[in-house]
Amino acid sequence: MLLKVKNGNFSYHREMPVLKNVSFSLDKGEVMAIMGPNGIGKTTLLKCLMGILKWKSGCSLIDGENSGAARRQIGYVPQAHRFSFSYSVRDMVVFGRAKHMPVFALPGRKDYQISDAALEEVGIAHLADKSCNQISGGQLQLTLVARALAGQPKLLILDEPESHLDFCNQSKILRIIRRLSIEKGIACIMNTHYPNHALRIADRILLLNENKYIVGQTSQVLTKENVQEYFGVSSTIVSADAYGREIKAFVLLDEI
């Protein structure tokens, strides 16, 4: 197992636990989607995994090492946001190399090569010299993915990578995540609000709600019963045949 979370507990205030006894594991090359209502602690969970927040009890391990200490193995893709200084896309991606460099070092030829390869990987090599604050939201999200890849992670953590993106960019991001997990064996954890995206690319699902969670194979966890229980909406799964494949999707049944 690449990632193991054992009885993780976290709270911002002692009386109000956010995460209670969370345990799960993730293997190399697996994609896991974390779903749950707003403000339930999805981002908090990701921050605990990265060691930005400390577990109150329990732990998370990467290859048996505490995941905060092994932060080097994790690539994090934040939600796209604007930066105070408009670095070029290439500069931004090279920043992903920082964790492998000593504190006084400047990035060398090898760092630039790895970063350029990461730009190729997500298909935005042509934007390398553009300013990060002048490209579109979708391109910025891809830049941040490339930056995470430049750090050569074993585990990629993405915070709602496809929110705020148009249809085309949504599927582009999902395709990249799928490809990275299959071709490079990178494990991916993503927060998402779209059950249909989870159905498309996730091997495993973690459903989170107040004081409870459920984790398991996508087909077993992402059912209309669980969606009713965790989100309080009634829905059904429909399936469409396209190009000889069956594609499943949730449809909301609630009266609007």
């Binding site: 990265m50 930005i52 934040p78 006084f104 010299d129």
Partner: protein, 345 residues
């Protein structure tokens, strides 16, 4: 192939602009050496240099030699050093606090150092080593106060640093006013007031040797950290998620900038605007990456200060306090650049 090409082009342009800035600095320094109240012909100048470098004595130009090597040269070197120091400190703190409107006194160094100097003048009725020492010491004290206050708040976030800086600044400004109030109106009060306006008048080689070590230490330290500063300029959480622990580097950058700024204030009084304007101009010239920005700010800051000090000496018969001139030249220049290029960013 295309990407490689453009990358080379880019590094080339950064590498090409730095020597250009060095030339500007050298040119302004040498021109400034020949301009001043004491007029001399170019023939005399040649003679002075000739006798200085060949060791042939008695050209009969002792006065000219004294003016050039004992009055103007130390002053120009100090001006360059102070300008360079304030600019790199400003650029670094702007990066650290993710805000291009930050200037080197954001954490209260200048007000602390100003208070120290005022106290020194009050106690000794003069501008001697005690005044300089007090100024430097209180500059450091004010930043330590700011840092510890920011730490008391628990989360060492950018905002709490800046708020603590504002608190410390206002306390020291009030204390400075108190000292001015009790100071002797005939000699101490004018001395304090002029000192606070900033000036390079009466600087000697001794002052240069006094500030050279701390400013060099600060500048070299910041230059070494210049790429890492990029990561910190993305914000605390972003730095963490990039696998970098920002704490130690942040404290290092704050301390180095503080040492530089306190040293500058110690010999020249409070000189505003340079640390704010020069980094902005350099961002336009060389880009936002601190890799190029910090060296460029250092060099251009030095050149700017040499030029402004030359104006301060030569514009009118009486010397203009340099703090006034940097604001008078820097502010409109800044306004011009800002309005011209606003659309671009």
């Amino acid at each position: 192939m295309k990407t490689n090409h453009s990358k080379e082009l880019k590094t080339c342009s950064v590498a090409g602009k730095l020597p250009l800035l060095v030339l500007v600095l050298l040119f302004s320094a040498s021109v400034s050496l020949f301009l001043g109240r004491y007029n001399m012909s170019s023939g005399e100048l040649m003679q002075v240099f000739y006798s200085k470098f060949t060791g042939v004595p008695g050209s009969g130009l002792d006065m000219a030699e004294h003016v050039i090597f004992q009055v103007r040269l130390p002053r120009i070197l100090i001006a360059a050093l102070v300008g360079a120091g304030l600019s790199i400190a400003g650029a670094s703190l702007q990066g650290l606090f993710q805000n291009p409107l930050v200037s080197p006194d954001i954490l209260g160094v200048c007000s602390g150092a100003g208070f120290g100097a005022a106290l020194g003048i009050l106690l000794t009725s003069g501008i001697g080593y005690l005044t300089a020492g007090f100024s430097f010491a209180f500059g450091l004290v004010s930043v330590f106060l700011t840092l510890s206050m920011a730490r008391v708040k628990g989360e060492s976030q950018t905002l709490s640093y800046i708020l603590s800086g504002i608190i410390v600044t206002s306390v020291f400004l009030a204390l400075t006013s108190l000292i001015k109030y009790v100071a002797d109106v005939n000699d101490q009060l004018p001395a304090i007031t002029f000192w606070l306006m900033g000036s390079f008048a009466n600087t000697e080689f001794d002052d240069l040797w006094l500030i050279l070590p701390p400013i060099s230490l600060g500048v070299i330290g910041l230059l070494l950290l210049r790429w890492r500063l990029n990561i910190l300029s993305l914000g605390e959480e972003e730095a963490y998620s990039l696998g970098v622990n920002p704490q130690a580097t942040r404290i290092a950058i704050i301390l180095l900038s503080t040492i530089i700024t306190a040293s500058c204030v110690m010999v020249s009084g409070i000189i505003g605007w340079v640390g704010l304007v020069i980094p902005h101009i350099c961002r336009r010239i060389i880009g936002v990456n601190h890799n190029g920005l910090l060296p460029a700010s250092t060099i251009l800051g030095g050149a700017f200060m040499v030029i402004v000090d030359c104006l301060a000496r030569n514009l009118i018969a009486a010397e203009i306090p340099i703090g006034i001139l940097t604001a008078l030249t820097g502010a409109p220049f800044f306004a011009f650049i800002y309005s011209r290029l606003k659309g671009e960013s």
